[in-house]
Subunit: 403 residues, 2 copies
C-alpha cells in the first residue's frame, strides 16, 4: 500500500532523479525576513505580526525584464520545496525531504508544464506553517516562548499579503503567472483579486471560491480532535509530548477527503490485511485501515498540530465573494488577468460545480476565463496525480498566444 | 439549529402526540432472556454468548394465523422504541425518551405506512447495543464485571440469529415482512438470505450489500478516536469518566455522512453564529460548528462508546456477497421473498449505485425485486425524513396484491 503522493514520488524518482535532464536537480531552501518591528505584517484579524521569516525556493532564471516569474502555492501540508531534490534537508531538520523530489516535481522542471527553461519559479511556505516560515512554533518576541495558540488567526489574504512582499523583495513588479491547487488555488484566486495589476495569469486548480459546509465540517472535527488531545495543553506542548492522537485523526480525515469513493474502491476493494476474511477483532483488519493508520503515523512525525489548526481555519474563512459583499459576480469585477480554472470530476472536497460557479461569475463579468473539468477517478488528489492531462492544459495556457 | 431527527420529532410531536389517532400511543419496552448457559447464542466469530437479554417493543395485534407480523430493525444508534411514547423511560434510565416519540413514529402507527391497524410490529435492540439488549456494558458472567472490550466481536449475522429467537419466542413462524434503513436494511437483507422460508417480504432501505471503503474509513477513524481517548482505559471505563471526546469525534463524523453536501448548504450556508463575519478565533464560529458540537454533546450523554466500537465493526464486516463466495449474484440465489429496495439520490454513505447493484443481482436471479431511487436532498438521513414519498412506496409494497 502506498499513498498517491508516494506513488507520484516513486514515479518522479524513477523518471526524474536529480541528474535527469527533466529535473531542476539539487535545490536549496532560502529564508528571508519580510516583516520586522518597524514594518510588521498587517493581518485581516486587525493585529500585526513581526518578525516574519519566509522560507522559499526558486528554480530557473529570472530574465532581464523580470517578467517570466511564476509564483506557485502549496496546499495544507505542503512546503516551499516544489521540485527537485533538497540539498539542505538535514540543516532544515527535515530528513524526509531527502527521499523524494518536491511535491509537484512532475509539473515543474525543464520541459515540464511549468518549464524552468522558460520560467522563473518561486514558491514560499505559508505564514502559520511549520516548514521555515514563521508559525505557531516560532518564538513570540513578546513572551520569548513559542506562540502556540497565541499565534494570530491568519487568512488566505494574509498569506498573499506576505507573498507580495517576497515578490517585491525579488524585484518583480508583475508576475507572469500565479498557480496552485487546493488552498493553493485559493491563493491564486486571491492574488488575482487583491493585486490585479501585478498578475498576468492565474491558474486555479482543484479549488473553489469557498469551502462547502461539508468541507468545513471535516476541518471542525480535525481541530476538535487536536484540541481535545490530552497532550495538547492549550497548544503549549513544544518540548514535550505532542498531540499525536488528535493530529492522526485530522490526517486520516484529510485522506478520506483527498481520495474519491471510486479511487478507494480501486485501491482497497474491502480487502483484508491477511488476504483472507474477517479477523473478528477491533484492530487493523482491512487494508484501508492499515493505510489510514500508516499515513497518519508518518504525518505526525513531520507536521505541527498548531499549524494544522491555523491553516485549516484560514481555509474555512476563505470566501472570495466577501470581496463583493457576498456576491461572487461583484467580487470578480476587479480581476484583470487571464484565468485558467481546472477541476477534477471526482473531487468532492472542491467539487467541479463550485469551480463552474466561479467560471460563470467571471464570464458574466466578461473576464478572460478558461474552465476545464478533467475526468479523473483520483478525487482531490488528482491535482497531484493527473500529470499528463493537467500538464497539457497548463502548458497551453502558459505558452499559448494572447489574442 | 436542530438536527433532522429533532425536526422529524417536532413534526411527529405536533401531529402524532400520544393521544392522536395516528399514534400507537403509550408503549412499554419489554425484556426477554433468549440465550442462557444451556442454550447460548452461537456467533460468527466462533464463540458463544450467554446470557443474552433482548429489549423489544411491539405494537398492533398479532392475528390468529400469526401471519401479520413485521420485524423492523434500527440503525447504529437506534433502539427498540420505533413508535409511540415511552411509558417506562425512567425505569429504563433513559429520560430523553420522554421528550419525543419513537425514531420512526412518522412511519409506524394507525393508518401509517407500517399500519398498526393491520400489522403486528416488532422491533428489538441489537446485540452489542446499550439500550437494553446485552452489550459491552453488561456483566460478563465469567468475570462478574462489565464485558468492555471482552465482549465478542459481533456481526449482522449474529443480530439476525438473535432476532430469529425472538420471533420464535413470540410464536411467529413466518414474518409478513422485515424492514429497516441503513444497517437496519442490511439486517433485512440478511434475514432474506439466512431465513428465506420465514420471510415473505424484505424492505431494504438506504442500505447496501456492503459498506464502501470510504464508508469503512469513517468507522475506522471513529474507532481510533474512541480508543485513543485517555478515558477509554482499554474499554474498562464503567463507573468512571467516559471517553466522551473520542465518542464526540465519532458522532460528528457520523453526522457528516448522514447529511449531503447540498442539505448542509441549505441548512447552514456558511453562516456565522454571530450572524456577521469571521470572529478570527479557533472556537465555534460557523453555525455548522455549533451544530456538530451540540449533536455530539447530547450523544455522549446517551450512548456507550464500547457499543459504538462493536456496532460499527459489525457494519464494516457485513458483506452479503460472502454468502456466495464473494459473488453477489450467487449469494442472492437463496432469496425467496419479495424485496423492495429503496435508495435516496443524495445518500453518499449508502449510494444508490450500490443498491442498484443489489437490484441487478436479484433480477439476474429472477427474484421478485422492486427498486426505487427516491430523489431527495437529505442524504442518508432521508430514510427518516422523506416520510411522504417513502410511505407511499412502503404502503404499496406491503399492501399491494401479490401476482
Amino acid at each position: 500500500m502506498s499513498d498517491p503522493l508516494n506513488l507520484l514520488n516513486e514515479k518522479s524518482a524513477k523518471y526524474s532523479g536529480p541528474d535527469s535532464s527533466r529535473s531542476v536537480g539539487w535545490v536549496v531552501s532560502r529564508s528571508v525576513l519580510l516583516a520586522d518591528e518597524e514594518n510588521p505584517l498587517p493581518l485581516d484579524c486587525g493585529k500585526t505580526i513581526a518578525p516574519v521569516y519566509v522560507e522559499y525556493e526558486v528554480y530557473g532564471e529570472l530574465n532581464e525584464a523580470k517578467d517570466n516569474a511564476i509564483l506557485i502555492f502549496h496546499a495544507l501540508s505542503g512546503d516551499a520545496h516544489v521540485a527537485g531534490w533538497s540539498k539542505n534537508a538535514d540543516q532544515l531538520g527535515r530528513p524526509w525531504l531527502k527521499n523524494r523530489p518536491g511535491w509537484w516535481d512532475d509539473m515543474v522542471g525543464p520541459g515540464k508544464a511549468f518549464d524552468t527553461k522558460k520560467f522563473f519559479i518561486i514558491c514560499s511556505n505559508i505564514l502559520g506553517s511549520c516548514y521555515g516560515t514563521t508559525g505557531p512554533a516560532s518564538i513570540d518576541p513578546v513572551t520569548g516562548r513559542p506562540y502556540g495558540l497565541g499565534f494570530p488567526v491568519i487568512t488566505v489574504g494574509d498569506w498573499v499579503r506576505l507573498q507580495e512582499r517576497l515578490v517585491t523583495y525579488l524585484g518583480i513588479k508583475r508576475l507572469y503567472a500565479v498557480a496552485g491547487g487546493s488552498i493553493g488555488g485559493q491563493q491564486a484566486l486571491e492574488w488575482a483579486l487583491a493585486y490585479p495589476d501585478r498578475v498576468e495569469r492565474a491558474l486555479i486548480i482543484a479549488s473553489s471560491p469557498r469551502l462547502s459546509d461539508q468541507g468545513l465540517s471535516f476541518n471542525v472535527i480535525a481541530r476538535y480532535a487536536i484540541r481535545t488531545d490530552p497532550n495538547f495543553h492549550s497548544g503549549d506542548y513544544y518540548g514535550g509530548s505532542t498531540p499525536d492522537r488528535g493530529l492522526s485523526v485530522a490526517r486520516m480525515l484529510g485522506h478520506i477527503t483527498y481520495l474519491s469513493e471510486i479511487s478507494m474502491q480501486n485501491k482497497f476493494g474491502r480487502k483484508f490485511c491477511n488476504g483472507a476474511g474477517p479477523g473478528y477483532h477491533l484492530g487493523v483488519d482491512f487494508e484501508v485501515e492499515g493505510y489510514l493508520r500508516h499515513q497518519s503515523e508518518s504525518f505526525v512525525e513531520r507536521f505541527d498540530a498548531n499549524s494544522y489548526l491555523f491553516i485549516t481555519r484560514a481555509a474555512d474563512y476563505y470566501d472570495a465573494s466577501l470581496r463583493g459583499d457576498g456576491n461572487l459576480d461583484q467580487a470578480c469585477q476587479s480581476i484583470q488577468c487571464r484565468t485558467l480554472l481546472v477541476s477534477f470530476s471526482s473531487d468532492w472536497l472542491y467539487p467541479p460545480e463550485h469551480m463552474k460557479e466561479l467560471a460563470l461569475a467571471m464570464s458574466r463579468n466578461r473576464k478572460h476565463v478558461s474552465y476545464v473539468n478533467i475526468p479523473s477517478s483520483y478525487g482531490h488528489d488528482a491535482f497531484l496525480l493527473e500529470v499528463d492531462r493537467l500538464s497539457h492544459v497548463v502548458k497551453s495556457f502558459l505558452e499559448g498566444g494572447t489574442e
